[in-house]
């Protein structure tokens, strides 16, 4: 019996090392495919208007001129960057608070209409934004929100996806801690803020990242909500470089590179929290 197990495990180990080698090779190949567009984008951003159309991998005379132009005051890029940051940060803060509040209520409380409310909220995920932008615009105009940060932000202040995530997550929380706090006489809101929220930090981190990213990427609504170029967010501004006067590919690539940078930083800083949070979601979903 023991002999059998040992031989099986030896055979398994040999097979496994072959599988592992194959996996490494495939993963590396895949990495090349995933990374290549970014590499090409970066290389293109180092080429000027003439070099950009010469099909060479590396630039003959790499130049940082494109970056200088994009980041200087001559382009509106820095302003767009700032707008994107402000909008993304504010909506993320709001989403973190409200989504977890709703998720908590839906996960840890029982009351009439709970299922219906949850379904209603999740069903909003299926309403295409494209359909809501006209009524949103009419609303923004009536409330004088056009060309304000609020005008760009308001549709994103609470996210149904976040509610979904937080509810799934909160369902796994032990009730005893919360009940004990109640017995101790703690107020509901305090319980939420001081006990529940800290317990769901990984999920909050995940939600924050994904919300920040989603917001940063938003295109259609910011396009309509901001009529003045100085209020554009990055994606809307990026589209500016190609228009009636042809396509300035070297600027577009540089703009794309600059637009990406902060998100990579964000991900690098928070990757651990994200993975942990998702892991818990994977269990509960």
């Amino acid at each position: 019996m023991e002999m059998e197990i040992r031989t099986t495990s030896v055979r398994r180990k040999a097979k496994t090392s072959l599988t592992v080698k194959a996996a490494y090779i495939l993963l590396v190949l895949l990495s090349v495919i995933m990374i290549f567009p970014f590499v090409w984008m970066l290389l293109s951003s180092l080429k000027d208007a003439t070099q950009i159309f010469k099909l060479r991998f590396f630039p003959e005379a790499p130049t940082l001129e494109n970056y200088r132009y994009i980041l200087s005051g001559s382009s509106k890029f820095p302003q767009w960057f700032k707008n994107s940051v402000i909008v993304a940060l504010c909506t993320t803060a709001s989403v973190l608070f409200f989504d977890s509040l709703v998720g908590y209520a839906l996960a840890k409380f029982s009351f009439q209409g709970k299922k219906l409310i949850f379904l209603l909220i999740v069903s909003t995920l299926m309403i295409p934004t494209e359909m809501l932008v006209i009524p949103w615009y009419a609303m923004a105009r009536a409330m004088k929100w056009v060309n304000t940060y609020w005008g760009i932000m308001f549709p994103g202040m609470i996210s149904a996806f976040g509610v979904f995530l937080m509810r799934q997550f909160m369902q796994t929380l032990p009730d005893d801690l919360i009940d004990a706090a109640r017995v101790d006489g703690m107020g509901e809101l305090r319980i939420f803020l001081t006990i529940v929220l800290p317990l769901v930090r990984p999920a909050l981190a995940t939600l924050a990242i994904f919300n920040f990213i989603g917001n940063w990427n938003a295109f259609l609504w910011p396009l309509i909500a901001a009529s003045k170029p100085k209020m554009f967010t990055l994606p809307v501004g990026l589209a500016n470089f190609s228009g009636e006067a042809g396509s300035d590919w070297h600027y577009i690539m540089t703009g794309a590179a600059v637009a990406m940078a902060p998100l990579i930083v964000v991900f690098l800083l928070f990757q651990k929290q994200i993975v942990r949070g998702i892991a818990m979601t994977g269990l509960k979903g």
């Binding site: 490494y24 970014f38 509040l101 029982s110 009439q112 309403i127 295409p128 990026l238 994977g282 979903g285």
Partner: protein
């Protein structure tokens, strides 16, 4: 106050503002659009009049709308399964390797975290025909014929679909990998001792245990592909969803109806049709996976 009463009031209190939000930002506008879809409201006309179902008739008899629905179906039917299957395989591979998981994961997620607009333009730049597109440059160096990609009525949709798959891979892989890592090692080892091979373990243990994850991702990716807009907008000439409407998604059709042709009421009708389709498919998916979950 009883504990139950207090809990109920708290729940409602917590839900108050968010519910108002969803009502005014999501449902209210949707009802507004629903109402408008039965009028002849157009930005070109000041006072709308009731016209019954004629907008729906117009939209459903518009070959361009039908084309856009067909395109959208293809985006979803090919895109979502592709993403999920490939990311699952990647996650499996990542799970087997002892070192470097983090680094690979970072690389695969890179496309997902970047702005879709930026990524669309980078790919559009890569897809350019000779002499300026790099993909064709590589094909040419290998002696292969140039691809038409975004300039072909048959290749354009797959070209855009590939980009969306490339974007979503990292997200799904991360989730799958996390899910895989929650599967208890003992279960797998026990099965291996019992003589189960890799495929059996996959089929009888791994996949069933990952069902919630698969369900979550199928729903998410399905909706994502059904709503595809930004990539199509930024990767087709003059954002037309061409060539010859071959890439136009339903969402782009709606946008054009509203903002290029100013036919708000028809756009509303089209949006509602799209909404019903997305809703039905999602409900079907939930039903299907719900049955599989019991074990």
């Amino acid at each position: 106050m009883t504990l139950k009463a207090r809990k109920t009031i708290t729940a409602y209190a917590f839900l108050a503002i968010p519910l108002v939000f969803f009502l005014t930002v999501r449902f209210g506008p949707m009802l507004y659009m629903l109402a408008m879809s039965f009028t002849n409201w157009s930005l070109m006309r000041k006072i709308p009049a009731f016209v019954g179902f004629s907008n729906y008739a117009k939209v459903l008899s518009d070959p361009v709308f039908m084309q856009s629905l067909w395109n959208t179906a293809r985006y979803a039917v090919f895109g979502a399964p592709l993403v999920i299957v490939i990311s699952f395989l990647i996650a499996l591979m990542l799970d087997t390797i002892p070192k470097g998981k983090g680094a690979f994961r970072l690389i695969y997620v890179l496309p997902y975290i970047t702005p879709v607009v930026a990524v669309s333009w980078v790919w559009r730049w890569m897809y350019q025909p000779p002499p300026i597109g790099i993909i064709n440059g590589i094909l040419g160096a290998l002696g292969l014929p140039a691809g038409e990609f975004l300039n072909s009525t048959t290749q354009a949709l797959p070209s855009i679909l590939v980009v969306n798959v490339w974007v979503e891979l990292g997200y799904c892989t991360t989730i799958f990998l996390a899910g895989l890592q929650t599967i208890p090692r003992e279960m797998i080892e026990a099965a291996q001792i019992d003589g189960a091979n890799g495929r059996q373990i996959l089929g009888k243990i791994t996949i069933p245990l990952l069902n919630p994850v698969i369900l979550f991702l199928t729903v998410m990716e399905g909706i994502q592909f059904l709503r595809i807009f930004t990539q199509v907008y930024n990767m087709s000439m003059q954002a037309m969803g061409g060539p010859l409407n071959s890439t136009k998604s339903a969402a782009l059709y709606i946008y054009q109806k509203a903002f290029m042709y100013f036919e708000m009421a028809q756009a509303a009708a089209a949006s509602l049709i799209l909404f019903v389709i997305i809703m039905s498919i999602t409900l079907l998916q939930l039903r299907f996976f719900d049955r599989k979950l019991s074990y």
